[in-house]
Symmetry: C2
């Protein structure tokens, strides 16, 4: 097995910034993280995680865009997107260390920083204050999941797309429409109709 490639300290600046925005992490935790984190890269179209595997690491996206999806028979249902400076994992599988029903795929060439489940829990045990960070990040992702659930639950396609534009402005012109349609739980035809209507409305206020 090749040793895992480790990042340079300065490459991790966006990660330190993200962590410190929740709670100051301090030098000890920073050094411990630096020793534990490894680099990973996923070319466009390739998978970070497949249905049936156990999600062994938590990732921070340095560059790129990923999506989560589940399969129902042969149909893919996109469940979330995550881009640079965001975190990603098969979260239920990672937290409970059980097999996932999810797939995670790179929508663009992506570079990631990763930490294993075992290494993350060593830091939680050694530094109680890192649990403040962990609690706040988990809370933040939980509220994002609630936003996704809200969009999914609605029936009205126009309302769904309006919320997509509100919650994910950076994704509107970045993600394939087939993925957006399945994320919203509507057909590609309905999505095209809604987008045409929305853009016509913008032109004639």
């Amino acid at each position: 097995m090749n040793p895992k490639k480790q990042p340079a300290r300065e490459d991790l600046i966006p990660l330190w910034q993200m962590l410190n925005s929740f709670h100051p992490i301090g030098k000890g935790i920073e050094l411990h993280l630096l020793k534990s984190i490894y680099c990973s890269s996923i070319p466009k179209g390739k998978y970070l995680l497949r249905n049936g595997e156990v999600s062994d690491s938590l990732y921070f996206i340095r560059k790129g865009l990923m999506r989560g999806f589940i399969k129902e028979e042969n149909k893919e249902i996109t469940t979330w997107f995550a881009m640079e400076n965001e975190m990603v994992s098969g979260i239920r599988s990672f937290l409970l260390q059980v097999e996932t029903v999810e797939n995670i795929q790179a929508v663009e060439d992506s570079e990631l920083f990763a930490i294993s489940y075992a290494d993350l829990n060593k830091i939680y045990e050694k530094y109680p204050s890192f649990n403040i960070t962990g609690r706040k990040i988990t809370e933040f992702h939980y509220t994002s999941a609630e936003n996704r659930a809200y969009i999914t639950r609605l029936h009205d396609a126009e309302r769904k797309y309006a919320l997509f534009q509100e919650f994910y402005p950076q994704l509107v012109n970045r993600v394939q429409l087939t993925y957006v349609a399945s994320f919203l739980g509507i057909t590609i035809e309905t999505l095209s109709r809604v987008r045409a209507k929305t853009s016509a409305r913008k032109k004639t206020p």
Copy 2:
């Protein structure tokens, strides 16, 4: 304003058990919680939270059953259920202290223990180890939310109902079918057909 009624220490035994199952809380935190927690009761059909309000407290259900729902025009869409020994709040509203889009209603007469946002955060600040508990509970609820999202995302009604039976065996004969149907995102007619099929299959294996 009437002073809020506080629980007796022994009434909180199920709460201590729940908390200790995640991480030992210790006497200091237990005493601080005892001083902060207040009692609340919600008769069947009444609301704990309404769309547009800010969720000011986090609740532990001592007895009863609650549901969360959102409204789309005049239609109610049930988004979750919670029963005795489980926690409940308009979680996004509570964590971010913003207005909720959710409603929370008592499905049965319910008795609750509550702690305010301000009081909970005082405990997090005073006792760093309580953040371990908070992190683990948030992670647990996040994984439950992922289970709900998974059911919601699927299209096949039989698969949805099979997962409902698997994830929520205690709810199958306890909750009105209209709520179950809207939780699964299917019509009451489809739910009745699926239930008839499921029970016929059980009789003739």
